[in-house]
């Protein structure tokens, strides 16, 4: 068995990267991701990892270097936050469409402007349509665990998609927690050796990446990406179970749900799920039928499974830590509400936008949400479909 360490989210991520020991890591520093790559660069300097570290001049170049490396057959990784991810945008789509299993840690931070360095999910939520699998982590342990699993998910032959593993900036990235670390050889055995069937460096089987793809085949290639996304849940579940057999920590499409007998449910992603969990425990002791549904895999969105676990629930509040300007609510809300559309007796669903730019959310606010859900379940009336939690009027 491995060991127990006190690590911040950034450090736990760097530790996972050290054990993954990728062929190439290309990254550019940006708060609050900086410590991840800084720590990893120490491993490189000390010769602890065999990674070729590419110190690029921007995130656009970081993702481009990963694309080149992955197409050449390397296991490639990067990490970023907020504006850094935004600068990668163009290449994120290219990485996914070339089916390159690049792994990226996204330390969630608000997108400018005005400039802000603290947590919200606007960065990764903005990239939700780029064709990457997205895994949200609640705490340092999950950031570590998810990163290791993501290597296997991305490289699975029938998936072959890049994966971003996210965790909350500062709240997780800079907070020290108890983290269980696997043995180095356990991780290297779990992830195995990477073999890209189509490597640019394989001169015996030459291959072209990125040719012109017009109206005659582009559509078919997009359909293949859709298929890979649709196949990926079973792979994610299989690997989550295998990882559980190894570590004792099992993972599924959704996080650890506290839904037994729940009538009033909050849906949350990231560190806030932990806050909700403590409220659920407290209220359940008082006999209240409250529950939490934690979003783990957001892309692909596990609509079927979520619909099943929410069956019989009376009222649901979806917490979104990002805005989709001009839309009918936050990104998670839109997915959940749409997923429940075909239910014969769907629960009432409301949305709360919260925590933008690192605005703190506490147990009192969560309790207020459950109070509102109680009222909605009782009156069967929704006054406000989209509300704002912790906002000054």
């Amino acid at each position: 068995m491995g060991k127990i360490l006190g690590l911040t989210g950034d450090e736990a991520t760097a530790e996972a990267m050290r054990q993954i020991n990728p062929d190439v890591l290309a990254a550019y520093p940006i708060t609050p991701q900086t410590e991840t790559v800084q720590r990893f660069s120490e491993f490189v300097a000390e010769g602890i990892v065999a990674t070729e570290m590419v110190r690029v001049e921007s995130e656009h170049s970081a993702m481009s270097a990963c694309v080149g490396a992955a197409a050449a057959g390397a296991r490639a990784m990067t990490a970023t936050s907020a504006n850094g991810l935004a600068l990668m945008w163009e290449i994120c789509y290219i990485a996914a469409s070339y089916r390159l299993p690049i792994i990226m840690a996204v330390v969630n931070r608000a997108l400018s402007g005005p400039i802000n360095i603290h947590c919200d999910h606007s960065d990764s939520m903005g990239a939700r349509d780029a064709g990457w699998i997205q895994i949200y982590s609640e705490n340092c342990q999950e950031a570590y665990d998810n990163l290791i699993q993501s290597v296997r998910i991305a490289e699975e032959e029938k998936v072959k998609l890049p994966v971003m593993v996210t965790f909350d900036g500062f709240i997780i990235s800079h907070a020290m927690e108890r983290v269980e670390i696997l043995e180095d050889d356990e991780v290297s055995q779990f992830i195995g050796k990477y073999k890209n069937a189509y490597s640019l460096l394989d001169v015996d089987s030459p291959v072209t990446y990125g040719p012109l793809d017009l109206y005659d085949y582009y559509f078919e290639h997009k359909r293949q990406q859709i298929e890979a996304m649709e196949i990926s849940p079973e792979v994610i579940q299989k690997i989550g179970k295998e990882f559980g057999d190894l570590s004792g920590r099992y993972y599924d499409l959704m996080g650890n749900c506290h839904l037994e007998g729940a009538e009033l449910v909050i849906v949350a992603a990231g560190s806030t799920a932990g806050t909700v969990k403590s409220v659920v425990d407290e209220l359940r002791e008082k006999g209240e039928k409250v529950g939490l549904l934690k979003i783990r895999i957001f892309r692909p969105f596990p609509a079927k499974q979520i619909t099943e676990v929410l069956r019989g629930v009376k009222a649901v509040a979806v917490l979104d830590r990002s805005v989709s300007f001009g839309a009918q609510g936050g990104p998670i809300f839109l997915e959940i509400r749409s997923a429940l559309f075909d239910e014969i007796k769907p629960p009432a669903v409301v949305n709360y936008i919260y925590g933008l730019g690192g605005r703190d959310i506490g147990v009192d606010e969560i309790k207020r949400v459950y109070k509102n859900l109680e009222r909605i379940a009782h009156t069967k009336k929704v006054d406000e479909l989209v509300g704002y939690l912790g906002l000054r009027e």
Binding site: L100, P206, Y209, G210, P211, E220
Partner: protein, 101 residues
């Protein structure tokens, strides 16, 4: 050629067959066609040097012909030709003559 469905093509837009760019006839992108004047040509082959689509066919170190299947009609050859032995003509003229080809 019947185009294949999404299940039957390599993923990611990969091309697994080497040198198959030749199969993609880009000549039909052309709006202007280079035309060669044998009397003016000195066979210096600057056209061959500059052609971005390898569409100048040379035989025994002499200009032989254009590869109209792949020439996109960019006109670089006619601009570079020091003896003005290549000029560009509108493709429509030939289209009528060649029956829309």
């Amino acid at each position: 050629m019947k185009e294949k469905g999404w299940r039957d093509i390599p993923w990611g837009g990969l091309i697994l067959e080497e040198g198959n760019a030749e199969k993609y006839k880009t000549g039909d992108w052309r709006t202007h066609r280079p035309v060669w004047d044998e009397r003016k040509c000195t066979h210096c082959l600057l056209c061959w040097v500059y052609c971005p689509d390898s569409s100048i066919i040379v035989k025994e170190e002499k200009f032989k012909q254009f590869d109209y299947d792949h020439c996109k009609g960019c006109g670089i050859c006619s601009t570079q030709c020091p003896t003005k032995a290549i000029h560009m003509e509108e493709e429509t003229k030939f289209a009528l003559k060649e029956g829309g080809k």
